[in-house]
Symmetry: C2
Subunit: 422 residues, 2 copies
């Protein structure tokens, strides 16, 4: 890597820019174990190769590129990275910024002449957004053992393809890389994960998904905690019938129960200062002239505490159940994933945030889930760096970060890795 | 056809039973210009062949099988029939009952030794439900000139396939049958329709989609009118963002505007004694952890008069627009099809309903649209016969009619054709 850091960063960024981008919306569709995922992995493997980093894959779609120093190569590593997948019609930064910044930070450290005392690994976790198999942080959950392979293998995407079949069919996506000493850096396939044995600590850099840093006038910050959050499937069942001939009072229309539930979720979250969203919906049979037989809707809920989250979901389910009784419909609620509060290692956060030119970095909470939360819950000391987002918009083609702030983020990540792998 | 009428009817019915039926719901998925549509057309053509009826196709997917007497073959014909397509996850009777009954009625008339004084045609109109291209009665609208080919050719299905391409690709679906003297019985392709020149009157037999006949204790009835009805696309546009990090008060969530609109539509229709349904919905990007950028919903509305329908839609749009203002979203409403009140030829209805053993048949209105409404609006004297539906359920796998009532329907249709083609 002979160029300057800004040039290299911008080149990596422009390499990634066209991959999986919709020409209609400008947003990204980077679902795991698909053709575009293969392109993203190829790009990552090529970037690792250019830097002489050794790439390992596990059996779950997770990748890591290791910078192994001559001395200390057998010590536990400092892991940094993020993910390359996107939500449906997502932004460019959520995920890739952490991967590109990690590679750029390796370049910065080398240009500084820094030699780490332990391995530094640049990681890419699979299916962080859960956009295909419905479960966020799928790769890191499997890698840490938070989710067993037996529970995960039969997860299905919207076309009915199982995770097991998707992985088996993913030849050419970089998943068939040579496995490491313990059968892959995370143990591979169905074996027990060895992540904790090989990783000293984890740092994830991420674009902020809010405006805390804007309000504080800071380009970067350190995460204190992640709010508890969960995904809950609401199956509203009624009775299909003719939209023209069925009297209003004779209907058992699940769309009405759903509609009231969506409004109730918003009102409950607003009143309690929490978050609730119905962003995904499936209607059957979904015909204009038929009352639906079924509406399936997914609630995304977040609370400031585990108790606040439980209270919020209980209140929404309670109102939905009452309405179902009045509509003659039925409701079944299935929690698909619930993640409790994550408090990142406070000593580590303080250590990373303190003693910088221009003052300490702010330490701020986030309401967004991340692989970092999964690794932290698995007992691995973990920290997150956020890069300022001028609008706070994320999970949208409008997501943005200024290039100057991104470069501050790379330097901050390099400083952080230096503190951790000195 | 050597068997008895009940046997022949039941055999035709059981031939059709498996075509396009979902093994999951038991409902039917018989969308036009698809593989299952080809099977349905092959069945119809074979049935016509067994009876020596000459099948003609036009360029729009409509079929007719003619019984031409030796004398009067050049007179305008009496047309009877219905459609073979279904809504998504529909019932067995809506459409096919009219086609099967028409074929069975021909058998009954022949067994009675009846020789018509003019041709009798058994018709199958294409895409009556509008389940694929969104416009109900597509085939009959094209056949009557109510819709021009130029306006229809670029209609697209949910996969983006245009009607023109679907028709061009429909080789083997019976659309390439030899065309009649005027380039097809309806003029064919882009030529002017000749339906009115060749058809004296039209009778459609249909399962009732309500319980009027149950309440009246009658197995069959005659239609008086069809309520005005329309389909309106509501495009709610907001701003995609992260479901976790975006404060409730900062959102522009089109799902909320939609949800309130769905409830308002129900309340307005209920209060006014009309009908309003949101049965079809598309959400973008439809991800659990993203606030939607867009919700598209289709309103099916029906009113007892043209004014009542307009008032109902105005009231719903008004409430939706107010809510959009409060939600920071925008709304665009596009009427995709609006069909005014259809009053069937009163003299014809009276003539068909009167003077039967056991008394006159009841004359009842319907809130459901039919090809008969399109032909009637085109100036063709038209009537409908309804067969009792014990539950009133339709557009659902639960749709049903008792076999005894169906056989009464066949006899009633035979009697009707005898009166019209004597």
């Amino acid at each position: 890597m002979g160029g300057s850091m800004p040039d290299d960063f911008e080149r990596m960024w422009s390499d990634l820019a066209p991959l999986g981008r919709s020409s209609v919306s400008g947003g990204y569709f980077r679902q795991p174990f698909t053709g575009v995922d293969g392109e993203l992995r190829s790009w990552f493997i090529a970037q690792a190769g250019r830097r002489g980093l050794a790439v390992e894959a596990d059996g779950f779609g997770n990748l890591v590129a290791w910078w192994r120093p001559d001395r200390g190569a057998d010590r536990r590593g400092v892991l940094t990275g993020s993910h390359l997948d996107s939500v449906l019609d997502g932004g460019a930064y959520d995920g890739p910024l952490g991967v590109v910044s990690a590679l750029a930070a390796v370049d910065v450290l080398r240009s500084r002449g820094f030699v780490p005392s332990r391995p530094i690994g640049v990681s890419v976790f699979a299916e962080e957004e859960g956009s295909r198999f419905g479960l966020a942080c799928l790769g890191s959950r499997l890698a840490t053992g938070a989710l067993s392979w037996d529970a995960a293998r039969s997860l299905r995407d919207r076309d009915g393809v199982s995770l097991e079949d998707a992985l088996a069919a993913s030849s050419g996506l970089g998943l068939e890389l040579e496995l490491g000493p313990s059968g892959g850096w995370l143990g591979g396939g169905a074996a027990a994960p060895s992540l904790r044995e090989r990783v000293e600590c984890f740092v994830e850099l991420h674009v902020e998904q809010g405006r805390d840093l804007v309000d504080r006038g800071a380009a970067v910050g350190v995460a204190s905690e992640i709010w508890p959050h969960g995904r809950y499937r609401f199956d509203f069942t009624g009775s299909a019938n003719h939209a023209g001939t069925t009297r209003m009072e004779d209907r058992r229309d699940p769309m009405l129960t759903y509609a009231m539930t969506a409004l109730a979720a918003n009102e409950q979250a607003r009143a309690a200062g929490q978050r609730a969203t119905f962003g995904r919906l499936e209607v059957a049979p979904n015909g204009t002239n038929a009352i639906p037989s079924r509406v399936t809707a997914w609630l995304d809920a977040r609370g400031s505490t585990d108790g606040a989250l439980a209270d919020l979901v209980d209140a929404i389910v309670g109102q939905a159940t009452d309405r179902a009784g009045r509509d003659g419909t039925s409701l079944e609620v299935t929690p698909e994933s619930v993640t409790g509060a994550v408090v990142f290692d406070p000593a580590l956060a303080t250590r990373l945030a303190a003693d910088h030119e221009g003052g300490d970095w702010p330490v701020i909470p986030t309401m967004a889930g991340h692989d970092a939360g999964i690794l932290s819950a698995a007992g691995i000391p973990t920290a997150m760096l956020f890069v300022r987002n001028p609008t706070g918009v994320s999970h949208s083609p409008e997501e943005h970060a200024e290039i100057a702030d991104c470069l501050v983020g790379v330097s901050a990540l390099a400083d952080t890795l230096e503190r951790l792998a000195r």
